[in-house]
Point group: D2
Chain length 228, copies 4
Amino acid sequence: MQDWNELFSQEELDIYDTAGFGRKSGIGRRPALLVIDIQYRTVGTRRLPIREAQREFPTACGERGWEAIDALQPVMRLFRARGWPVIYAYVAPKAKTDGGRLAQKVPAIMDIPPAGYEFVAELAPGPSDILIPKKHPSAFFGTALTSHLIDLGVDTLVVGGCTTSGCVRASVVDAFSLNFRVVVPAECVYDRTPTPHRANLFDMAQKYADVMPTEQAIAALKALPEPA
Amino acid sequence: MQDWNELFSQEELDIYDTAGFGRKSGIGRRPALLVIDIQYRTVGTRRLPIREAQREFPTACGERGWEAIDALQPVMRLFRARGWPVIYAYVAPKAKTDGGRLAQKVPAIMDIPPAGYEFVAELAPGPSDILIPKKHPSAFFGTALTSHLIDLGVDTLVVGGCTTSGCVRASVVDAFSLNFRVVVPAECVYDRTPTPHRANLFDMAQKYADVMPTEQAIAALKALPEPA
Amino acid sequence: MQDWNELFSQEELDIYDTAGFGRKSGIGRRPALLVIDIQYRTVGTRRLPIREAQREFPTACGERGWEAIDALQPVMRLFRARGWPVIYAYVAPKAKTDGGRLAQKVPAIMDIPPAGYEFVAELAPGPSDILIPKKHPSAFFGTALTSHLIDLGVDTLVVGGCTTSGCVRASVVDAFSLNFRVVVPAECVYDRTPTPHRANLFDMAQKYADVMPTEQAIAALKALPEPA
Amino acid sequence: MQDWNELFSQEELDIYDTAGFGRKSGIGRRPALLVIDIQYRTVGTRRLPIREAQREFPTACGERGWEAIDALQPVMRLFRARGWPVIYAYVAPKAKTDGGRLAQKVPAIMDIPPAGYEFVAELAPGPSDILIPKKHPSAFFGTALTSHLIDLGVDTLVVGGCTTSGCVRASVVDAFSLNFRVVVPAECVYDRTPTPHRANLFDMAQKYADVMPTEQAIAALKALPEPA
């Protein structure tokens, strides 16, 4: 599901190449890990194929999500070992005043049972992690995330979670616009189905982020010097 | 190029349907037209196939852009006839201090000749239109656009221009997050190649906007009552 | 405490007059009431002079706050009677990751006991009011307030609460910048001491808001037509 | 004009002290100089008392502004000698679509002649300085300033310019909310009259910034280590 270029014809890839997209941003000196929406409502409480997982939570991505959770574990361990910041952006249970456009486009999102909002145990936040409740796709929109990143001196965001075509994409565009370097380890983000996943990995790789195999991201992060 | 569902398998479409996405936001009472990046650098100065247009400006979309400009003309005429606000978001020539991530991911964007920044004559702004120079994908990011829309009492944005997978998408996500209703007349937005165009129309239609044929958008707008 | 002009010399007032400041914004058609930080930490649990109230919560404003709560009651009743939106911006209990500049400038703010964060019973939110937890002076900064106001079609904010020189001032400047009309009923906002209160009423009246006696604000609001 | 505490009674100062305000943020490692609205419209083209300067531009502050320009010169020289970023926020000439609340509160601001928008020659921007045109009080509102500061790795803003009670205050509150450290060299900011100047220096010193004599700010900045 990570070979996103397969979705595009060679002519399409040539046109992008001529346009000059897809260069590298690189990694800075001070990374933070941004974990987006890894809650049971996006994977289900058990590791099941998506069509079965959707019987529990219609918004669940099923086993594609669980595979991303597996892939994200060693990234998380590295951040914890180095003492780099770990930030959880997540959707808090909805108040009845939280309607707006979201309730119109996706009314099912207003009725998720409380258990769906819990963090997935395998990647649950620790006591010194930063929690960013959000009401919109981007983890930056209407939140204190920018203020936290400036306070921490972060220059690079490593992004995992879901969905590739929703909150991950929206957060990556805002991080790019704010001039943070962005790394997306491709196996660490997930979506409901392969086409939006691939198409959005492509868009992010061409324009906003360095999208790379998780193994390569881990190696690059390990090569960063210890803070003085 | 507008039949974006062709890009997805039936199983993908079923999964989205089960998740409950893709409902309608509808149109409010006070629309504004947001025209994004319709400058010669995104189409070229002549109506040519993209590979030829890229010889003039590597970032040009060529005839796909010109077709969108054709499609947008009657929408623009309707807005002008009704006296509804017309807003142009566009990229201003780069200063050498405008580097950041954009210069890293797409260095070619820093060297566009001045003629590329001119508005396309067929859809040039009039004297009472609002001009929003921008430096980032979203027309809302780092601009006064939200303040203008609040001042004008706008509740609905009709979006045309380019690229579907870049500035249009980013602007639509922000408009949705701000609780504006968003209409994307599908033929009025354009991109370099069909796959990102379709994939982003799909994402927007599922989550953020009412994407519809231009003819249908015009009919819905014409049905709005005259302002009191 | 409301005669803020007494703080200024006649020459100062003349200079401002020559500069052309202090004209009226007026009231629109769709007001919302923004109640800022009316929690026990800002007044104390009993109606006491400020020096005594500060023994309970060092940040309390004491009886000046209670007088503003009295003054705000009829404004609140009018909003509830008309069904206009009522929005509470407030500070939520601090997490240990909420440090930053605030913890440096005002370390005492990190240690307020839980009871201090409760809403004052006399003006507590009702079930359909909108709650906006915030971490910064402005009710707009890092919150969904703008999105709520756009969704509700609000064009005018009536602001009460505290402190005049802190969160009220910061919120009013942002509301002004977003092009909302702003009304500050002078007796409905409070501060620790008279000078910053008066100086900030003056700044707001000159540049950002229509500051007026509460009675006059109520009369102007009552004159608004019932929504169709 | 810098002894702002003279504006307050001892009881007021005691109340603030009990509340726990006014501690230090300190200076970080990477400062930038933010110069706000130093244009002829805010001082006049000649060094005159304010009442005379207002005959040229009603919004001019006159000699108080010129004294601040004098005080800012050695700060600017230090930033240039060290190669630290210098950023100019300024008001660009108004378009007729730039109305909104500003045009209502301060209609005179819509009619400033072009010469009033020019930078004061004594402190004009150099070729590598960053220019931030703005339409609202805060240099952050609707601008790319945050993105520039993140790109440059800035952690501390030193602020000069005008007015203390207007754009300086609004910019300092936003910088504080974003978790930048803020230093205001007191003689380097100016206003029309002494009372708002002092009252806003007090508010900023108590809550948002380290306000100090310019000489002390220069010494602290000189003590910063050269970048590696």
